[in-house]
Symmetry: C2
Subunit: 337 residues, 2 copies
DNA sequence: AAAGTTATCCAAAACGTTTTGGATATTAAA
DNA sequence: TTTAATATCCAAAACGTTTTGGATAACTTT
């Protein structure tokens, strides 16, 4: 028993056109008729059919987001991002379409399905790589999209937390506490943000006249075991670092674990910091110093940008760097005297 | 520059009907023409317009999921569920529509938008309450839906981890380790699963002839501070419990914190267990004994059920209880001698 | 009074698909 | 040779909107 414009037209005695225009608020319909039609629509519970609308308007009023599927527990980062994106989308009257796929070919197919099937008007991307094929595809298809995170090129709209600033801040923090032997567990170099982060770390050292010690720079893979392996190498050095900055919290937690195993008390004998502020970090023992990126807020802003693009308007700034927040916890220890 | 059936018809010299039927695999089109048309479609990159399809077929090929928005960090549970649901949906060729809203009126509106706007063919619900208005609405609208978790009534399709079994198992586990003074921090009673869980706990005690001590049963609110408050009450008792079972991991972690503050070593002086197996639990100190529910798997099965309903087929079993997994970690301590 | 405005309405087209109900030509059966 | 069956095709309708391009009547202005 579904109610369409047709139904309303018959019951009200007006034409489909008038009903449609009355409901849409056009000025060429008598206020009295409009009131009558609106009342009738309410009474019968009229809800416009989306498919018909989309067919006619040639847009889906939907934005898409593909989340990469991993075997282990899903990434809280994406949940936050998704929450932000979904929330903001709905304030614009847009729906959010989700697709979960293991990275690789299947993921690319998902993008194609969403984009060329015109299921979505725009896409939100996250976790970009260098030479990301998804970006290439979307640019080529000339389909609106926004990205969280940078790649090696900058000719598309993105929002990123300032990786340089973040690691500059962390390093400053430790230098401020009197450390000079500060190690860095980096990110896989094919990740868009890897370089900026390392530069932030190095720049801070250089600012303070501390030479960059290549032994103190090791690469990690963003997992906890990766952090363990990296920290083991660092602690085996002749002169071990007095502070470790990891490219994310998971690796930092791995590093903390190694420290404990080797009899070092984190926050006293050695300082450790991470990046992300995952929920685990505040509950760790000791709680982990880290940098927080306002993921949900980023989600909001991504949608703002995307909708602007979808509407064909110009973006006032198509690249935004977000200021991160330093969160100092017990893993920093006390300033050395 | 979009390619429609019209385009293919003109270029191939056949009618729109024939092109459509050729592509759809109908037998009333010559194999040779079919081949020609298919080749042409490939060449021009034809992708059927979803909106038109949906309008014609009167279904959206989409399922919906509303996630409740909270102020703090998003719930990993929903991320897992969403991953499972999204994955399975795509194997059926269905899309997944997400809506994020703070619980309450706005949430209900989201359901209405999705359902009566026929944006989705079916809904997946989670975290149900007693007398859940969403269930009432969906039943009333006669719209296909499946639920993760039970409410007080059973006249709708759901999948739930067996709460009775879970807490029975946990209690058995502690009794097995020699405990008799086992406390229970419960869930808010308006949650659908609260009763079953407490029954599981009580039944296990009764099975072993241990009287149920009402002082050992306190209500929690599923948050960590709630666990703290509950544990403080328990530890203030004349005869404090030797083991605490909490209704979820978060409360268990809160309880562990209280124990530590009062000089008790969890895993030696007192045993603690939770439910959920959130990522935090395995990293806690000591790691927390808990019960895991296979959330992603539940997501798969929910979609199976939902699609069956959407197709109008009968469900062979419209209520499923899933067997939980007991995960014993150091917070259980050693068997008392 | 004629011409121009304004307010209010609507028929028909368009969006791109699928389905219905034949039409036509070809082949097989009577 | 006539009739029945089969293979292959297609025009038109339908799905529910929005938009286009007027039509009509009622006022206003010259």
């Amino acid at each position: 028993m579904k109610v369409t414009l047709q139904t309303l037209a018959e019951k009200s005695g007006f034409s489909i056109t008038t009903v449609s225009r009355a409901l849409a608020g056009y000025s060429d319909v008598n206020e009295q008729t409009r009131a009558r039609i609106k009342a009738l629509a309410d009474e019968l519970g009229y809800v416009p059919n989306q498919a018909a609308r989309r067919l006619q308007s040639q847009q889906s009023n939907t934005i898409g987001l593909v989340i990469p599927l991993t075997d282990d527990f899903s990434d809280p980062f994406f949940m936050e991002l998704l929450t932000g994106v979904g929330r903001q989308a709905s304030t614009y009257g847009y729906d959010l379409l989700i697709s979960a796929h293991p990275p690789g070919d299947e993921e690319m197919e998902a993008y194609q399905r969403l984009v060329s099937g015109s299921r979505v008007d725009g896409m939100v991307l996250a976790r970009t790589h260098i030479n990301d094929p998804r970006i290439a595809y979307l640019k080529d298809a000339n389909h609106p999209f926004v990205v969280n995170g940078r790649a090696n090129v900058d000719d598309f709209p993105f929002i990123d937390v300032d990786g340089f600033r973040s690691f500059h801040m962390l390093t400053e923090h430790f230098i401020d506490y009197g450390h000079r032997d500060i190690a860095y567990i980096g990110c896989p170099p094919d990740l868009g943000y890897a370089a900026a982060r390392q530069h932030g770390y190095e720049a801070s050292l250089t600012d303070h006249g501390i030479p960059i010690n290549q032994d103190y720079i090791v690469e990690g893979d963003l997992t906890k075991p990766g952090g363990v392996a990296a920290a083991q190498r660092l602690l085996a050095l002749n002169q071990r670092p007095s502070a470790i900055i990891a490219g994310n919290d998971l690796m930092a937690l791995g590093a903390m674990q190694v420290c404990r195993q080797q009899g070092l008390t984190v926050g006293e004998d050695i300082a450790v910091a991470g990046f992300d502020d995952i929920p685990l970090s505040s509950h760790a023992d000791p709680p982990l110093t880290t940098v927080r990126q306002p993921i949900r807020e980023i989600g909001y802003q991504l949608v703002d940008m995307l909708i602007t693009l979808i509407r064909g308007d110009m973006l006032d700034e198509s690249q935004r760097l977000i200021e991160p927040t330093l969160i100092i916890r017990a893993s920093s220890g006390k300033p050395l005297n």
